[in-house]
Symmetry: C2
Subunit: 113 residues, 2 copies
Amino acid sequence: MEPVCGLDVALRYIGGKWKPVLLFHLQFSPRRFGELKRLSGGISEKVLIQQLKDLTADGIVLRHDYREVPPRVEYEITDFGRTLARALQPLCEWGNANREYARAAERHDNESR
Amino acid sequence: MEPVCGLDVALRYIGGKWKPVLLFHLQFSPRRFGELKRLSGGISEKVLIQQLKDLTADGIVLRHDYREVPPRVEYEITDFGRTLARALQPLCEWGNANREYARAAERHDNESR
DNA sequence: CAGCATCCTGGGCGATACTG
DNA sequence: CAGTATCGCCCAGGATGCTG
């Protein structure tokens, strides 16, 4: 089962449900744990830490533990991660351009049930 | 929980495990059912037809049934679908550019277990 | 060849409670 | 605040067999 296009590779990195969104938020500035939780809207702590670990292990983000009390940890995108975030950009724009269209389709879908 | 970036919208369309890859193949020419199955490498028929239905319902692809016997059905990308495929392009290229890197990381990962 | 009907399983995801 | 520890659901995805 040899690869077809680069998508299979990319999907290994951003496969998780929240990873693309996390990456999006991280590309602007480093974020703290709670900040990411708030920004992502609805992610559980367990899943958040899980996905952040994946991203860290994959060299997409860096974890900075300031060893303070109360705890303060920041997650920062790496240069490598930034290239991935850039590749995600068009998809993000596509979504924005089609947000209303998607809503309309959903409404139509609901009506036809 | 209002939307953050366009990614959430895009993910509703290409959320399925195989959809990005299917879209990739369809962007070049219409494909028959069996052809897609072969090209995608490893997808089951049930899942394939399922994802194709999703894509059809979302206006991403068109289904042409030639009503022949033996059956002949072709799936063709729509103009709308093409815009999505284009938005996927950079991600695809990113994957190609990082294929070897990903392999190396995987090897290193295996060694360290 | 294209596709439906079934049954089944894993693990991704979520909710909650607790700790340093 | 930033996690860890459990528990459990649920369904996307897979395997197999059958039909027009």
